[in-house]
Amino acid sequence: MTEATPALARRDPNISQVIADTIRMEMERDPTIVFLGEDVGYSGGTFGASRGLHRRFGDWRVRDTPISEMGFTGLAVGLAMSGWRPLVEVMFVDFIGVCLEQIYNAIAKNRYMSGGRVRMPVTIRTAGGCIGVAAQHSQCLWGTLAHLPGLQVVVPSNPYDFRGLLAASLESDDPTIVIEHKDLYLRRASSFRVGAELPPHRFLVEIGRAAVVREGSDVTIATLSTMVERSLRVADRLAAERIEVEVVDLRSVCPLDHDTVARSVAKTSRLLVVDEDYRSFGLSGELVARVVEALGPSRVRATSRLANPDVPIPAALVLEREIIPDEDRIERAVRSLLDDRVPDA
């Protein structure tokens, strides 16, 4: 147990290595963490995010399960009630429908239904987002999951947050779903604009605190996951025209840190939410509503939402590009938010 964690000294890890190193560090720190899921053991994970863990911790703490999501998610409920801290991998968030019963009726509700007598320290890691794998393997679904009371929904965008938020999830007494964008797993830490530096020691990122990753005075973009970098690139482009965009990385959908966004909008008075998830009944509408409620309509000059326009994700790349926010669309959305500056000026 006292073995040094070469993990933390690894040079320029990719995101899947950051995840595996974090799990390893947390499992060494807390012997009650048990990791379950499909292909998490011997093979080291479909996305390589559990490499070396089975060898280090053995069958009973790193368990290759059959393809029985409902069964092993329910198993996690019993483990948690018995005093363990299960970490469950649901390979793709699209598969969560098969085990949603145990997630939303037990994991999310047992603390409440028991009057606080039962703890549910369960972390569920799952992969989301578009990488050209079509309708059943590309969804984000953080809005769907955040809709259900009793769950934290965490969506990291950079190496620092992947480590800090996952460690915080594993330490939390509340059930937490961590949605990892598939497009990030193989990205090297050094390639990130934000959070590329990983300290060689353990640290936590508080769940429920958004981060202002770029300051600006004209428009606020609130976003998360891979859309953070896209938004930052758009902000660079527009800076050349002296349009200053503030970019807020939400980092979690529940809790949703609308205070940080509202503080930003209090300054810019314009809010664009960029979201890869479905538009209706989701994160973008919720965030706009909360910011307007917090500031009052007179202090919010304009709002806009850029998200998947409520269609399943198509297979052909040319079709996928039609529905997922890209830099050009983000830029156009920012410009149209600023349209009213002309008559106003």
């Binding site: 009973w60 329910g74 239904m113 429920g208 809790p255």
Partner: protein, 322 residues
Amino acid sequence: MGERFPLLERYRAMCVMRAFEEACLEGVRNGELRGELHLAVGQEGVAAGMLGTLRQTDWMVSTHRSHLHAIAKGVPLRPLLAEIYEKATGLCGGKGGHLHLFAPEQRFSTTGIVGSSLPVALGHAYAARLDGTDDVAVGITGDGGVNTGQFHETLNMAAIWQLPLVIVVENNRYAISVPSRDVTAGPGIAERARAYGAWGSRVDGTDVELMADGFRAAVGHARAGEGPALLEATCFRFRGHFEGDVDHYRSEEEKRRMIAEGDPLRIAAARLLDRGQADAATLSAIEADARRTMRSLLHEVRADPPPPPADAFRDVLARNPR
């Protein structure tokens, strides 16, 4: 165990169980309990047969029809009844209600979703292996639950990892209104164990002694580290699926016969008289005593306060969400 729970003691427990369910029923009749109530009147033999075999440290995870299992696991009657009556003094402070009972001190919980009890029990069995104890976990379901995917996923995982899990199937022959024989393939429920290389057996759950023997054998198997056990206990549900069920799917003749021939209390009473282990006066006194005890408990619970309204907002998360 036979000494701690001779038939007379099991009979006494069954009288308490029936009086308990009647005390719940009264709340429906008086309009004190809203919502659904699923009673196990007629199924006392299964619960009372489980008495005396489990340890406090063994977990039990039950179903929507769970009151008697809670009693068998040692959950104190007063907070149990108070939770069913949704009082502040209930097991869960009135937030769980009759379908969602949690008694971690007695290692007991329930779920209102058919089939979902079993993977949770599987988790407790996995925890026992991690802890290195010889505790077992008992997952209860019904003849309806054996057709859920969770039943099969659980048996499969319990068998491949040789976990100390006991699945008790209360086969009361109806999945709500549908006769289980019409929707359940194969020679029987207990026989499904064989497909997973698990121990399986069927007992007549209206006979509390047979149930006790069967349960002791199932738990013994699991506790010995020989993998999961599946015990099918046949029984009758005297009332509808829930209070309010018009129960038109069973004929009057069928209902008359199940009460005449399948009442575990009557079966036990007849045997006690037959063996000369009790006389009629003793049995009546036991029954009257159970009723009296439950009446006074109900009287107390009725006087308990409801939960404070602000409790509606507590315990969603350990930390307050924003």
